[in-house]
């Protein structure tokens, strides 16, 4: 049998320096335990593609120097304020920023999912978002009114990485109705998943669970990481750790405070 189950570090092996990594938004299962493990490993030059926005995960990876290019529609800590390391990196020019708009990122992955070279999208025309994207094109629609419409090239990330409630030993992963995770996995070359727990049996044997299950066919590796989205929420399972997020916002406001945060919560160097 295919061995999908691995230790966290083994499962993350397909995510190498310089790879294009697609990750989900805050309420869709952000792999925070995996993110801390990647920072600990010292991953570098990521092209981080956050579908379609990010919060703590992007801020942490950027602050730790792991990101060369960020492609997303917004980064913010939400109710806890601006994302301080993201803001500092953009102002200091230490990352290349590819600003997008949410549906454009979904559409580009859908093009990859279908194996077609591009996807058309409404909106965008006359915006500076379009103006600064050399990779997006405008054509006159070949149908109907010949009105102008934007074309987005398909994006095929090297690896999709997310956290989900459970998986079985066949590599099938239950994600429920958070179906952008399917799109991410279909579009990416490889998919790596962390889960809260292992489901005994085969998820696809159960008609109810099967409808919300990503087949193991798409999945490269799975690792168990209990509370693997902490301090972010895992929908329907646990809420965000508001106290910790407030602490992060405070510490990450300065470079020194951020370094201290990394030492304590990522590298886990405890004071003796």
């Amino acid at each position: 049998m295919f061995q999908a189950m691995k230790s966290l570090d083994e499962a993350l092996a397909p995510i190498g320096d310089g790879c294009m990594l697609v990750v989900p938004r805050e309420v869709s299962g952000v792999p925070m335990a995996a993110t801390r493990a990647l920072i600990k490993r010292g991953i570098k030059r990521l092209h981080l593609f956050a579908l379609p926005t990010s919060s703590l995960q992007a801020d942490l990876l950027i602050g730790a120097g792991c990101v060369a290019t960020l492609e997303t529609s917004a980064v913010s800590l939400g109710e806890f304020g601006p994302a301080p390391r993201f803001n500092a990196a953009v102002l200091n020019g230490t990352i290349r920023m590819l600003d997008a708009t949410c549906p454009a990122l979904h559409a580009a992955l859908q093009a990859a999912e279908k194996g077609v070279p591009f996807m058309p999208l409404r909106g965008l025309i006359g915006s500076d978002v379009l103006k600064y994207r050399d990779d997006w094109k405008v054509i006159d629609s070949p149908f109907a009114n010949a009105d102008p419409i934007v074309l987005l090239p398909a994006i095929k990330p090297d690896v999709a990485l997310f956290h989900a409630p459970m998986a079985d030993r066949f590599g099938n992963v239950w994600v429920g109705r958070t179906r952008e995770l399917f799109t991410m996995a279909h579009a990416a070359e490889k998919t790596v998943v962390t889960v809260e727990k292992i489901h005994d049996g085969n998820l696809l044997d159960d008609a109810v669970l099967g409808a919300g299950t990503l087949p193991g066919f798409y999945v490269e590796s799975v690792a168990v990481a209990e509370r693997g989205a902490w301090p972010l929420p895992l929908p329907d399972r646990y809420a965000a750790d508001a106290e910790h997020l407030a602490l992060y916002a405070k510490m990450a406001a300065t470079e020194a405070g951020f370094a201290e945060y990394l030492d304590k919560y990522v590298y886990e160097k405890r004071a003796a």
Partner: protein, 260 residues
């Protein structure tokens, strides 16, 4: 979940409650209202409209698990909007200008900005396809309401050949309500405790105004009761910090558990 009694009578209201009431009236009688990220006041307004309408309109809070019906992932909102299945949406901006352009990206030169905002979110698409977009900005100043934005996340208007069934209908601030038509803002009402002179002083763009500008009506006791009760509790799921600060709602520390 509990709601702490707040020291206020129904004649006394918070600015957020007034703004949510104003926005709920702007929503009007429609089928589907969607609310994006970082929009607690519009979310309160949409939930208020749904309570008043006994379940109509459908409300989709992008940031919520409970208050949206999406089963096809986060893209379903945008697919819905593209078909005209979303009637009302809300946008804010680090800068908003007199032509209704919004800037959610940066101040200063592109590539070397002086200030960075989170990013454009869905604005560069939804502003074009949602018929009624309500702009909101709780800091009404010359810093935020400018003659011309530094970066156009989404333009207020488009050339006639561009597919554009949607766009701005109003701008709600902490001081007043503007309506938007024919490419310009017009002052519609000034909130209690604020003046027309103050609005002129703190607005960086030109706008139209009638000879006599009415005062924004305060929220009714019934509206305040709805907002502080059922709306506040629903809001707490998506905006716990806001619900705590404005309405005193306390949430349990962990979310619920689900089977499966």
């Amino acid at each position: 979940m509990t709601c702490l009694p707040l020291a206020m009578t129904t004649n006394d209201f918070r600015p957020e409650e007034l703004l949510a009431d104003v926005i709920a009236r702007l929503i009007g009688d429609v089928r589907h209202v969607a609310v994006g990220n970082a929009s607690p006041i519009p979310a309160a307004a949409a939930l208020l409209a749904r309570e008043r309408g006994h379940g109509r309109p459908y409300v989709s809070l992008l940031q919520s698990r409970k208050h949206n019906f999406w089963t096809d992932g986060a893209r379903e909102l945008f697919d819905c909007a593209g078909q005209g299945r979303i009637d009302v949406f809300f946008l804010s901006g680090g800068q908003i200008d007199g032509q209704g352009n919004v800037n959610l990206v940066e101040i200063g030169e592109h590539g070397h900005p002086d200030v960075r905002f989170p990013g454009s979110y869905g604005s560069a698409y939804l502003y074009y396809v949602v018929p009624k977009v309500i702009l909101f900005r709780t800091e009404h100043s010359r810093r935020t309401l400018v003659p011309r934005v530094d970066f156009i996340s989404a333009p207020g208007a488009s050339d006639p050949n561009v597919f554009r069934p949607g766009g701005p209908i109003a701008l709600v601030t902490n001081r007043c309500l503007f309506t938007f038509a024919n490419g310009r803002f017009a002052l519609a009402s000034v909130h209690p405790g604020h003046t027309v002179e103050e609005v002129i002083e703190h607005t960086g763009f030109d706008f139209d105004r009638p000879a006599s500008v009415p005062q924004t009506p305060p929220p009714s006791p019934e509206t305040l009761a709805l907002m502080r009760g059922v709306v506040a509790r629903q809001l707490a799921e998506a905006y716990p910090q806001f619900a705590k600060q404005v309405f005193g709602v306390k949430l349990p520390l962990s979310g619920g558990t689900a089977s499966g």
